[in-house]
Every structure is written in C-alpha cells, then in structure tokens.
C-alpha cells in the first residue's frame, strides 16, 4: 500500500475508486505485522476496525459518511474504548477492559474515524523514552537503536512508521511533542480545557491533555474540530473549547514572535538544534515577521515545579489501583493491608513508584507548604509570565527538545537527566497554553527534531495556520 500523508489523498483515491476503507485498514494491519519488532502497538483492534471500515465504505457510497471517513487512527493505551482493553502500559491493569468509551473515541467514531488499535507508551504516561512500559520499549522506526521519545512513543511511531494516518496521544509535560520531535511528525498539545479528558487515564489531572500526532497540519486541524468541545463528563473544559475551523488559511499576516534567550542558550542544547532554530528565526524575519528575544527568568524552575505538582496529583490519581476492585491483585496478599502493599508493589513499575512516593512526600504534613504550596505559586508565576509574553507576541518559538532522539538505555539510569528532557515542553503544560512541534529540523546524521511554537490559550486556529505556512515554506526550501 502506498504511504498516505494526509486524509485528502486517501479520500481522493477512494473517490477515484482505487481504494476503500477495508483495504486501507488491511494495508495498515499488514504494515503493523511487518513492523512487529518495533513494539509500537500493544493490541490491534482488527475486528472492530474492519467492522467500522465496512460500515464507512457503505456510508461513503451512500454519501452519508462523517468528517473523518477514511482516517485510520491509533489511540494511546491510556484512552478508554468500550469493550476494549486499556492498560496504561502497566502490569496493574493487565487484561483490564473498559466499561465505557472516552469522549474523544465517541466523537471520532461518530464522525466515522476508524480506530485501529492501542499504542505502547510509558507506564501511566510517565516517561520520556517509552522505556517505562511494562510491555517493553518502543523502538524508533527511523533507527531501532534510538528511543522514539515518550510517553506517547508508540503513538508518534505509529504515524512515522505508516501504521495509521493519525495517532491520539496525551501530553502532560511534553509527551506528544517530544516523541513527535524524535520521529519527524507533527504533534499538538491543545489548550488545557479544549479536549475532554473523560476516558483518559489520569496521570496529572491539571496538566493532562489529549492531542493528535500526524504528518499534516490539515489532519491535525480536522481532528481538532472533531475531538474538541463541550462534554458534560469533564467539568474542567473551558467555555471556549469549541473549535470550528475546517479551512486553513494559506497567507498568514505578519506576526510578532518571541524567542526565549534562556531556551536557546541552555547549556544542554545540541549545537545543530540551536543552529537550526536560529536559521528558522532568521528566515521568519526575512519573511517579514517580527522576531524578538524575550527574557524569561523561570526556566530553571519549570521542571522542578512540574515534577512537584504532577507527582502530587499522580500520587492521588493512582490510589485507585489498589488490588481491591479491579486490575492486578497480588496472589501473595492475605489481608487488606497486604493486598494494597503487595498488589501495588508488584503491579507498578519503578518510575511510577518513584513518582507516587515523591508526590506523597510533597503533600505530606510538614512538607506541604515547602513543596506543594510553593510549586503552585511558581506555577501561577509561570502562567502569568507566559501570558504576558503571549499578550505581546503571537507565538513563542523554541526547539521542542534540546537534542534529537537518544539511544535506548542511555538515560534510563538517571531520572534527573530524563526529567530534563521536558525542559522546553513543560512550560505549556504549567501555563495551559497550546503548543505544537513541527518536524522542521534534521541533523547531518539525518535525525529529525522539532521546532516548537506556543500560542496563547485557545489560539489554536492561528497556531495551525501559521504552522501550516511554516511547514510549507521549509518543505519548499528542502525541495
């Protein structure tokens, strides 16, 4: 099967009678089987995907098909789909089947999207290399010795390896953008409160946001139309969550763009990544946009603040996995307390346990104010400062990650080093604003890396228009 880069190409071939959804799904399933060694999919929903494909083919014939007809989508293994297994890549949920569908899955199916399977990720979305999955790490399809990034490593890889057209991931501190950067795909973290979290297995509730990974801005834009918007099941959704822009604008006006000095001059940044970012800045200027350096003095606080609050929320969110009502229960348990201790000790992986302990600690009496209260204050400062910048500038531009994909096994012994992977991405999660990673960079060795654009809350429309334009310009240059 040929590699499709956007839904329009698929629809053209369907309209021309040379493709139908069943063949398309079978084609992707064949690709998945071929690339089995990459460990991208934890499960292929072959039956339900083919059933849906048949249904959509029929609807296309009758002219009643929805907006996503022809779009084959993978979902990260922390998104619930009724009657299907969902494990958050954890042993503690091994074999667990969801009793209900997440709002995003319902919305996708209603618009005739086809869900092909669930993708591997870091356990409970905690990680930056996909090495924290109980079911083994994902290998980067571009180079099997490298990590695809995390936590949505399977999601990004499923798109990069042509195993589906679009993937849904979740982004708590960069979990969509960093793997997108490492796999040469586009990844969007929408504004917090844009996409319903109902049916997303929680890691850190005030950060988590579902978002798409794809090869084209058009598809990202289309799926955002479908999955965003009101949902009575998620009370943290914003009243501005409706996104209703099917058309992308080709000619964007002149924009004001900020770049943060401390990001670009960060000691850990790879020189090629830095050079490329500077090159993009220069060409944006030459296109007539106003690009200026802006001070941001909270960079060193971002990662610690992020880890205090997310682990606090996680320690509470993960309390429900206790071996009592569902999920893994230790066979060695003999009473209530040992059921908790043994089930959780045996069921959770080391990184999840580390974060639960850290979160429990920062919420404990005597430490609460020093850590949790303080981190919340810093978070407010980050939000305030970010908003100030985005009031004056349309976008903030930076690399998505300090460096391209690293080797599997090279960092997983050093949690602090791993946590610093998120240094450029956590700002958008702390502040809540949208951010996108665009596959613009490439090292001499041929490894992709992303450029990140951040916009103000609910400015996805201008963010996507501008991204579309930027990608087209850089793609043209490449040619």
């Amino acid at each position: 099967m040929k590699k499709y880069l956007n839904l329009q190409d698929i629809r053209n071939d369907i309209d021309n009678g040379i493709l139908n959804c069943v063949d398309l799904v079978n084609g992707y399933i064949a690709n998945i089987k071929e690339s089995d060694n990459l460990n991208i999919f934890l499960e292929v929903f072959e039956d339900s995907a083919l059933r849906k494909a048949k249904e959509v083919d029929e609807k296309i014939k009758q002219g009643t098909a929805g907006k996503l007809a022809g779009m084959v989508i993978s979902i990260k293994d922390n998104i619930c789909y009724k009657g299907h297994k969902v494990t958050a890549s954890s042993k503690i949920l091994e074999g667990f089947e969801s009793l209900y569908s997440s709002t995003v899955v319902d919305k996708i199916l209603k618009e005739d999207g086809i869900i092909i399977g669930r993708t591997n990720c870091d356990e409970f979305a905690m990680g930056s290399s996909n090495e924290n999955s109980f079911y083994g790490n994902v290998k980067n399809p571009l180079d099997e010795d490298l990590t695809p990034g995390g936590s949505s490593g399977g999601a990004a890889s499923s798109v990069a390896a042509n195993l589906c057209l679009l993937a849904l991931g979740s982004d708590t501190g960069g979990s969509i953008r960093q793997p997108a950067s490492f796999t040469g795909t586009i990844g969007l973290k929408p504004t917090y409160g844009m996409v319903s979290r109902h049916g997303l297995i929680a890691y850190a509730s005030s950060f988590d946001q579902i978002g798409p990974i794809a090869n084209s801005i058009e598809d990202i834009n289309l799926i955002l139309n479908v999955i965003s918007g009101k949902d009575e099941y998620d009370s943290t959704l914003s009243k501005f969550s409706e996104y209703d822009y099917l058309e992308l604008v080709n000619d964007v006006p002149r924009m004001k763009i900020a770049f943060l000095d401390c990001y670009l001059n960060h000691s850990g940044i790879n020189p090629e990544v830095k050079a490329k970012t500077e090159e993009v800045i220069a060409s944006l200027k030459s296109m007539g946009h106003k690009v200026e350096m802006v001070d941001f003095d909270l960079l060193d606080q971002l990662v610690p603040t992020y880890y205090v609050i997310t682990t606090a929320e996680a320690s509470s969110n993960l309390a429900r996995y206790d071996g009592i009502h569902f999920g893994y229960r230790s066979k060695n348990a003999f009473d209530l307390e040992s059921t908790y201790l043994k089930s959780r000790s045996e069921g959770f992986g080391p990184e999840v346990k580390r974060r639960i302990m850290l979160g429990t600690y920062v919420l404990s009496a005597g430490y609460y104010d020093a850590y949790f209260t303080k981190a919340q204050k810093v978070r407010r400062l980050v939000r305030k400062r970010t908003k100030e910048i985005l009031k004056e500038y349309d976008f903030i531009i930076s690399p998505t990650t300090p460096h391209p994909a690293f080797e599997l096994g090279s960092q997983n012994q050093d949690p602090i080093k791993m946590y610093l992977e998120d240094i450029f991405t956590v700002q958008a999660n702390l502040a809540g604003n949208p951010a996108i990673s665009l596959p613009i960079g490439k090292t001499k060795a041929g490894l992709p890396f992303g450029i990140q654009l951040m916009a103000d809350d609910f400015k996805e429309k201008s963010l996507l228009d501008f991204s579309h334009n930027l990608i087209n310009n850089f793609a043209l240059k490449k040619a």
Binding site: L99, G199, S205, Y233, A312, A319, R320, D322, H325, L363
Partner: protein
C-alpha cells in the same frame, strides 16, 4: 469510683461533627441514583466505581441543600468554593480519596439555638458546614470469611456540620443533635435517621477544671448511631477522662469507638497512628461560585423553620412553650397546625385538638399527619361548633371526631345535625327534662336545699342521660339553679 463532688469540679467541653446524608435524586459527583435499600452494587456507574479515566461531575443539588442548611443556621455562605481531595486507602473508598472541601467550606460562622440543662436558651456555634461524598459500605457480619462491599452509598452527597466546642453536657449534646435533626428534616435535605446511618455523629470530648480558660486534651469518639448513644458516650468519656486526671494521668489525643452494649468508649487509634490525609485542591472540578442572587433564590424557597414557628406560637398565639414544642417537633404536623390556624383563631383549642385527639389517632394507627385524611378546615369547623355552643366538647371528641374518621368526606356540622347531636339550648325542651328529674328525686331536692349542694352533679347527670348528652351544660346548670335555689 470518683465521687460526684469531684466530678462537679470539672466542666465537660464537647464539639460535635455531624454527617448528614443528603436526599438528592442522584449522587454528588455522578448521575447514579441516590436511593436507600436497593440491591447491593446496583447504583454504580464507572464513575462510582472509580474506574480509570472517570471524572467527577458536580451535582448542583448538593450545593442547594448546603446553602439551605447554611441559611437556616444563619451562616456566612462562602462565595468561592473549592473542592479538595482527602487521601486514604480503604476498601469501600474506590478512588482512594474522598472529594470534600478543605480550606473553603461552603458555610462558616453559623449557630443553632438550644436549651441548656436548666432549660435556659443557649447558642451553639457552627464552625463550618461543607460538602463531601460518602464512602461505600463494608459489611463484616454477613459472610464468615470475607468482608462484603456495597458501593451504592459511595458518592452519596453529605454535609459535614462541625460545631464549636460550645457544648457543656451530654444533655446539651442531646438537645443540639435533636435540633439539627429537626432542622434537616424541616429543610427536607436529610431524613435524619441515625439508626439507618443517614445521620452520623462524632463527638470531640475534653474536660477541664471549672473556671479554666484553656481546653483540655480531647478525644474523638466516632460513628455514634443514635442521639441517646451520643449522650451515653459523652457521659462515659467525660468520667473516664476525669478519673485519669484525678489519678495523676494525662489524656492523649486519640480516636475512640463506642460499644453500645457496655456503654463504654474504646481506644482505636492514637495520634501517632493518625492518618495524614494529604488534602490538596481537587484538580478535576472547577471552583463553584455562590453569588448573592443564588443565595436569595434559595432563601425564597426556604420552608418555615421550627424555631420561627415556635416563637410565633408562644408570642402571638399565646401557647405554652411545651405546646409550641410538641407542635413544631415534626414539620408536617406543624404545617397542619399552620393551616388549621388559618381557619380558626381559637389557637388554644386548635393546639388541644392537635395534641389530643389527632395525635392519639396518629399514634394509634402509627401513621404520619400526611396520611391523615381529615382536612384542617374540617377540624376548624368542629372547633367553631364547640365555640358556638352547638356541641359540647365531649360530643365533639367522642362522637363527631370518630364519625369524621369513619367518613372523612362529611363535614362535622352535617354529622352533628344528622345524628341530632346539636345541643339543646332552647329552654322549653330543657325545662321538661329539669322538671322530670326534680320530680323523680324529691328527697334529693330537699337534701340539696338543706345545703348538700354537691347533689347538683347528680341532677346534671340525670338530665344529660335524658337528653342523650345533648343538653347544653351551661344552660342546664342555670335552669337547675333557678329552680332549686329558692
């Protein structure tokens, strides 16, 4: 044993925490039905089960009920309401945390008026009232090997009502709880049944030497399941603490349980073992703002409150405190009386009917006033008949009221007329009876006239017999005297 003299040196200090289960249609954070007595684990959606990916949805009725109680206790209603998570592991707590309120309780600085031990008015401060959810139920005594868990109750909305340590005796605690229970029943937010667990109480008890201005170390006795047991637990716990102090010991902060069979409190958990609940703001729910308009809206829907009614009955209707208390004990009983007093201004008589014939009938039948078929207007008509002198009290209570119970459609005037129970107040008919009786007992007449005036009763009785009870007693008395007192 410690002598009463020593006990009297001490003052008991009590603060109560009450959990009132709200009678909302659905649960606090899901649309699962909130009902008692259905099959175990049937009102349980993935949200109640705490399944992965589920989020709470706030039920606005919880807020309304909370504001109702807050207003009834003259509390300040908090504008910005944040929810918080209280984290602890227990088998009947599926999420591993309870959604509650921590730093921003819905209501603060309220009060409830009670009577102290010498029946004097006393005000008990309400520190806070906040919204939270109930846990499920662990059932330990149904299966010999396993604890069974019913999650129907998980997520049922609760109000926690925390009093100031203003209570000074077991009787005051008893009175306070009775008042709170009456209030939640009037407001129809909770059925107040402590035995069924829909109202539960924890008692914080300490003692100090009278006149001391610092509090002693306190203990918390949990899960008291009747007002009587709250009384007993406080009484026992205070004595226990006094004994320890008198023997040179110290009180340690701890959680205790109460054994209703022995009447003793038992240590359960010391302070060192106390949970660290790690409260933090609930990130899955937005802050709920309660503005003035909303509060006004709830205020206009408030029913009359027991204390307001009681005061009205004492001050405007001139009823005794006792009568006013009995009538306002139960909401619909009081509302019946309200309707009754709209149709008659003989409040005293109305009160007597309520507390006499009507209450006895309800008790006899074990029914509530809402099931009572006779309308207040019919009782008012009966009172009028008496006041007009048409029927005697005896005829009204013993003949007409029972007939109305038999056939509640007919009005009392028709019943009286049909049965010829209307009192004879025309003198010619009565004259005949009087003459007849006096002729029948000439010797007694002589005795009377010789000074044995007590015989008047005998003549009255005979005349009543002849008239089949219809003779107007006042008139008869007058006629008799006229004839006898020559």
């Amino acid at each position: 044993m410690i002598s009463q003299e020593i006990v009297d040196k001490y003052e008991i200090v009590v603060g109560l925490e009450i959990h009132a289960q709200l009678q909302t249609k659905s649960k606090a954070y899901s649309s699962d039905p909130n009902e008692f007595g259905v099959d175990p684990n049937t009102n349980v959606s993935p949200i109640t089960l705490g399944h992965p990916g589920t989020l709470p949805r706030f039920n606005k009725s919880t807020l309304e009920y909370g504001v109702r109680l807050g207003l009834a206790c003259s509390s300040k209603i908090n504008y910005e309401n944040q929810f918080a998570r209280k984290n602890y592991f227990y088998a009947d707590l599926p999420k591993g945390y309870q959604i509650t309120q921590d730093k921003t309780p819905l209501c603060t600085e309220g009060f409830i008026d009670i009577e102290d031990d010498s029946k004097k008015h006393k005000r008990i401060g309400i520190t806070r009232i906040h919204m939270e959810e109930d846990s499920g139920k662990s059932i330990h005594d149904l299966d010999p090997y396993n604890t069974l868990i019913d999650l129907n109750r998980a997520g049922v909305p609760l109000l926690e009502i925390v009093s100031e340590p203003d209570i000074r005796s077991p009787q005051e605690a008893y009175n306070y709880l009775t008042e709170v229970r009456k209030l939640v029943r009037y407001l129809e937010i909770c059925d107040g049944n402590m035995e069924e667990g829909s109202m539960r109480c924890d008692a914080n008890v300490s003692v100090r030497i009278k006149g001391s201005d610092t509090f002693g170390e306190r203990t918390e006795t949990k899960n008291l399941n009747s007002i009587r047991n709250v009384y007993r637990a406080i009484e026992f716990e205070a004595k226990r603490q006094i004994e320890i102090l008198e023997n040179g010991g110290e009180i340690h902060m701890e959680t205790r349980g109460f054994d209703a069979v022995t009447g003793q409190t038992i240590s359960q958990r010391s302070k060192e073992m106390a949970h660290d609940y790690r409260y933090f703001p609930e990130p899955d729910l937005q802050v709920v703002f309660v503005d003035e308009n909303y509060i006004e809206e709830v205020k206009t829907k408030l029913p009359p409150l027991p204390n307001e009614l009681k005061e009205k009955y004492i001050n405007s209707y001139s009823l005794s405190t006792y009568d006013a208390e009995v009538i306002t004990e139960e909401k619909y009983f009081a509302l019946y009386f309200e309707e009754l007093t709209n149709s008659t201004s003989n409040y005293k008589s109305a009160a007597n009917w309520m507390m006499g014939s009507i209450k006895s009938f309800l008790n006899e039948q074990a029914i509530s006033i809402q099931e009572f078929k006779i309308k207040p207007s019919q009782i008012a008509e009966l009172i009028d008949l008496i006041d007009e002198g048409k029927v005697s009290n005896t005829i009204a209570t013993q003949k007409i009221f029972p007939a109305m119970l038999e056939n509640h459609e007919t009005n009392p005037r028709d019943i009286a007329e049909k049965n010829q129970w209307i009192q004879q107040s025309d003198t010619s008919a009565l004259d005949e009876f009087v003459n007849e009786v006096l002729e029948k007992y000439p010797e007694k007449v002589k005795e009377y006239q010789d000074g044995k005036t007590g015989l008047l009763g005998l003549f009255m009785g005979e005349i009543m017999k002849l008239s089949k009870g219809k003779a107007d007693p006042k008139l008869t008395n007058q006629l008799l005297r006229n004839k006898l007192d020559l």
